[in-house]
């Protein structure tokens, strides 16, 4: 059975401004993919630990030394909008009344 998804909620979480038609289409496709993928749930996995990473690795540490960094102007040159040395974006907080 295709999995029923609250596609509007998922799209909002993913920051994707989908049209109503796109929501219907993606919702149906995802339902079918998840129906197939849900077969993993049929597998007995009691006592099996999850794997997040294929190689056993501990934290990678290095000496705390100043190294060369990217050139700020070169980085900012790729920004869609800037103000001086900053990235500029639309408001993200309501202004206090």
């Amino acid at each position: 059975m295709p999995v029923d998804i609250d596609i509007a909620k998922v799209a909002r979480l993913a920051r994707l401004a989908l049209t109503p038609e796109e929501m219907v289409r993606y919702g149906a496709q995802l339902g079918a993919i998840l129906e197939h993928a849900a077969q993993v749930q049929a597998l007995a996995t009691e006592g099996v630990p999850p794997t997040a990473h294929p190689l056993p690795m501990l934290n990678a540490l290095r000496p705390d030394e100043v190294e060369e960094t990217l050139d700020r102007e070169e980085v900012l040159a790729q920004a869609p909008d800037r103000q001086g040395p900053y990235f500029r974006v639309p408001p993200f907080m309501e202004e206090e009344a």
Partner: protein
């Protein structure tokens, strides 16, 4: 020297460059002629770096003239998949959201190729953000297969596979998250190697699924793939996941042949579900290995049947997190919005194509509250079972073998509207990424329509020496010398 220099292997070109028979500039010119003759039809490249390539080939010629030898890649024209950043050269990942992006640094693999004297011809086409198995998901149009331009080259590194098959580069780099090097190598009749997870730095590789992504080479021979592997492998302090131990030394045993090799055929991946021609070529190769002194046995790895489903939960989950960085703030496409959230949602809606959107939605769902354990958590446990099955099998054999892809190249457009059918193209290649060990595809024949068939070999993590020795034995046995009809610089 007879023939077109664009058709030389890296090893052959290296000899010709050192004997003075060929200059790096003449070799680049031959490759550029091939690019000019084939690109209108094949579309392997997104960007050609004419100035950078000319500079690098002139430097190689100057080094040879001065009696210096920068190493086996000096003066060799190579192609790089467009998800590896190149300083000042446009890098799009096949996506509209990165159109016009000129990175401020070189990926470590790119820097290593440059240090080795390689000539980077350009950046190759790919499925958007490496998500796909056909190179049809590029925002800049599909790449076509040089064996039959009505068919896909495989993906997601389709442009790199095609460049090498067509003679538009002597070798190339791709990335492999679920088969994106091995599957297009199989469909284009070239060699494709996915090294052990962590052996090649991913600094400057635009991340798709961080626990699975690995960079590796395409080449026309196993020996050439080794040369490229040696140039790019090894620890990089800029990549915290990069392996700190020594790189396996593969050269000494490369020519040791099949004698005494213990080979396991994975039952679940070498039966029904594969095209008859693919299966026939597979069995012919396995029988050849046995005749050459390998011991062959069939092994059942039950978790393989569930690897595809686990992958299509894990990879989208990681992708949804990694692609959060494309938000219209620091680089790439930005649409107007009243608030920052509206700006981000509008930019992402317009910037991402359908497959990337699908996977972001799928991953966001699989990670969301209430579904995490049932989907992502369960997939991670299945991944453990895959790793345990591999460990059990590799206690008995040196290499495991399967067909690389269940089919040869399929027609353009056939699977675009059916994501599940597209995902099934990766059924044979995905387990290797979940396990973390290396895998390679070697061309072993053509089907009745004249399309190439790939043979996949897998070994345990850091088992590159055994893997490449076995691959070299398969290559010698298959003696695959066919080249696509379109691999010509004749304009006709």
């Amino acid at each position: 020297m007879s023939g077109d220099p664009a058709d030389l292997t890296i090893a052959e070109a290296g000899v010709a460059l050192r004997s003075g028979e060929l200059t790096a500039s003449a070799l680049l010119a031959a490759v550029r002629r091939r690019v000019a003759a084939t690109e209108a039809q094949l579309h392997a490249y997104l960007t050609i770096d004419a100035a950078g390539a000319e500079r690098a080939s002139a430097e190689a010629d100057a080094a040879f003239a001065a009696g210096r030898d920068p190493g086996p890649l000096a003066g060799i024209p190579l192609a790089v998949k467009d998800n590896m950043v190149t300083r000042g050269v446009e890098t799009t990942c096949g996506s509209r959201i990165l159109a016009g992006y000129h990175p401020p640094y070189d990926a470590t693999v790119v820097a290593r190729l440059r240090q080795a004297g390689a000539v980077i011809v350009g950046k190759t086409n790919m499925d958007e953000f490496a998500m796909g198995s056909s190179t049809e998901n590029s925002a800049y149009g599909p790449t076509r297969n040089p064996w039959d331009p009505e068919r896909v080259p495989g993906g997601s590194s389709g442009g790199s596979a095609v460049a090498v098959a067509a003679g538009s580069a002597l070798g190339a780099l791709g990335s492999d998250t679920g088969g994106s090097i091995r599957q297009p190598a199989a469909l284009c009749g070239v060699v494709g190697l996915k090294p052990t997870y962590g052996l090649v730095s991913r600094y400057g590789l635009v991340a798709f699924a961080s626990s699975l992504d690995q960079i590796g080479p395409f080449a026309r021979t196993v020996t050439d793939a080794v040369t490229l592997f040696e140039a790019i492998a090894g620890h990089d302090p800029s990549d915290a996941t990069s392996y700190r131990g020594p790189v396996p030394d593969v050269r000494p045993t490369l020519g040791a042949g099949a004698e005494g090799l213990r080979v396991g055929v994975i039952t679940e991946l070498a039966g029904e579900g594969n095209d008859p021609a693919v299966l026939a070529a597979f069995h012919r190769t396995v029988e050849g290995l046995a005749a050459a002194g390998a011991s062959v046995r069939e092994l059942s790895l039950p978790s393989m049947a569930h690897a595809l489903d686990a992958y299509y939960l894990i990879a989208p989950a990681e992708c949804s997190a990694n692609l959060a960085r494309f938000d219209g703030v620091r680089y790439g496409l930005r649409l107007p919005g009243e608030t920052v959230e509206q700006m981000m949602a509008a930019s992402r809606r317009d910037g991402f194509g359908p497959e990337v959107t699908r996977r972001i939605l799928l991953g966001t769902y699989a990670l969301s509250a209430g579904y995490y354990e049932a989907f992502y958590g369960q997939a991670q446990k299945v991944r453990t079972l895959v790793i345990e099955d591999f460990a059990t099998a590799f206690a008995k054999v040196d290499v495991l073998v399967t067909p690389t892809s269940p089919t040869t190249a399929f027609p353009i457009g056939e699977r675009v509207e059916d994501p599940l059918a597209m995902y099934l193209a990766d059924v044979g290649t995905i387990p290797c990424n979940l396990g973390g060990g290396p895998g390679i595809s070697v061309p072993v024949g053509l089907d009745e329509a004249g399309l190439p068939i790939g043979f996949q070999l897998l070994s345990p993590a850091l088992g590159e020496a055994m893997l490449l020795r076995a691959a070299r034995a398969v290559e010698a046995m298959a003696a695959f010398t066919a080249r696509p009809a379109l691999a010509t610089s004749e304009v006709g």
